[in-house]
């Protein structure tokens, strides 16, 4: 892995990260268990140990992240609107008799350094209008665009800023 990538906070060094991050996972998995079992009280005999084990394993596998609530809500609103437009746009092009597409490959200079935020960004890009992530590299994201337009880069920049805000992480080259 390239060394420029920022690592998440340590999860197993006994610091104050551990308890809050563990409780965060427990809360998340409890909600999922509650949905699965429709709130059956007897199910918690199995659920509680399962949730505890899953929380421990998940902290080992995925370093703790602390997304900002405000940033997440703003991202969500933007993402829902944009992904809907993305589906409308590509559907219209598929059904149009002339098939109005002009595909190309572009390289977007990625400024996100936080590892999970970069993967998140790559996945998000594929659901936005006219863009598809093809290759995530250390310094750039290769993107297949359905229609080669100048606005694509600024759209990606806007999205990258929203992702950075959500993960509360900085962008390389900006203060």
């Amino acid at each position: 892995m390239p060394t420029i990538l920022e690592k998440g906070p340590p999860s197993w060094n006994g610091s104050h990260y551990f308890i809050t991050d563990f409780m965060q996972r427990v809360l998340l998995f409890s909600v999922i268990w509650l949905i699965f079992t429709a709130g059956a009280a007897a199910s918690w005999w199995i659920g509680a140990p399962a949730i505890a084990c899953t929380a421990i394993v998940s902290l080992r596998l995925v370093a703790p992240v602390r997304p900002s609530w405000n940033g997440s809500l703003r991202f969500l609103a933007y993402f829902l609107a944009k992904s809907f437009l993305g589906a409308v746009d590509v559907s219209w092009r598929a059904l149009h008799p002339a098939l109005p597409i002009e595909p190309n490959l572009i390289e977007y200079p990625l400024k996100l350094r936080h590892k999970m935020a970069r993967v998140f960004m790559a996945n998000t890009v594929s659901l936005l209008p006219g863009t598809l992530s093809v290759s995530l590299q250390a310094h750039y994201l290769r993107v297949h665009v359905l229609v080669d337009r100048k606005t694509v880069l600024t759209d990606l920049e806007t999205m990258e800023k929203k992702v950075a805000m959500m993960f509360e992480t900085g962008l390389a080259g900006t203060p």
Binding site: I32, L34, I35, F36, T37, A38, G39, S83, F84, G86, A87, V88, V90, S91, W92, R93, A94, L95, L99, I101, E102, P103, N104, L105, A122, N123, T124, S126, L127, P129, G130, L132, S133, V134, S135, L136, R142, H144, L146
Partner: protein, 99 residues
């Protein structure tokens, strides 16, 4: 039909249009990359609309919650698999179709 039924009917209809457009695009689009565009985006939004339309009918927070979980999983899987297929295609040198 109650207003909720109309709401559901509208969302299911709209969702179906996206799935049909997705199927048409899969046939009409010229290469792997463009097909991935349509498969990922229309599935995500089409399923989202259908899930939302069914969730308001379920009358149970548990069923509605399961439907939303399914949608989130499909969204995550769709975006990740689209990346893997596109990445596999580019590293095997499959050319990008150009007009």
């Amino acid at each position: 039909m109650t207003p909720t039924d109309w709401f559901t009917a509208m969302l299911l209809g709209l969702g179906t249009i996206f799935f049909i457009a997705g199927a048409v695009g899969l046939i009409r689009f010229p290469d792997t990359y463009t097909r991935l565009h349509i498969a990922t985006k229309t599935d995500n939004v089409g399923l989202g609309l259908i899930v939302f339309g069914l969730a308001v009918q379920s009358g149970s927070w548990s069923v509605a919650g399961k439907l939303v979980l399914i949608w989130l999983l499909v969204m995550l899987a769709g975006a990740s698999v689209a990346y893997l297929v596109a990445n596999g295609a580019i590293s095997r040198g499959i050319p990008v179709w150009k007009r």
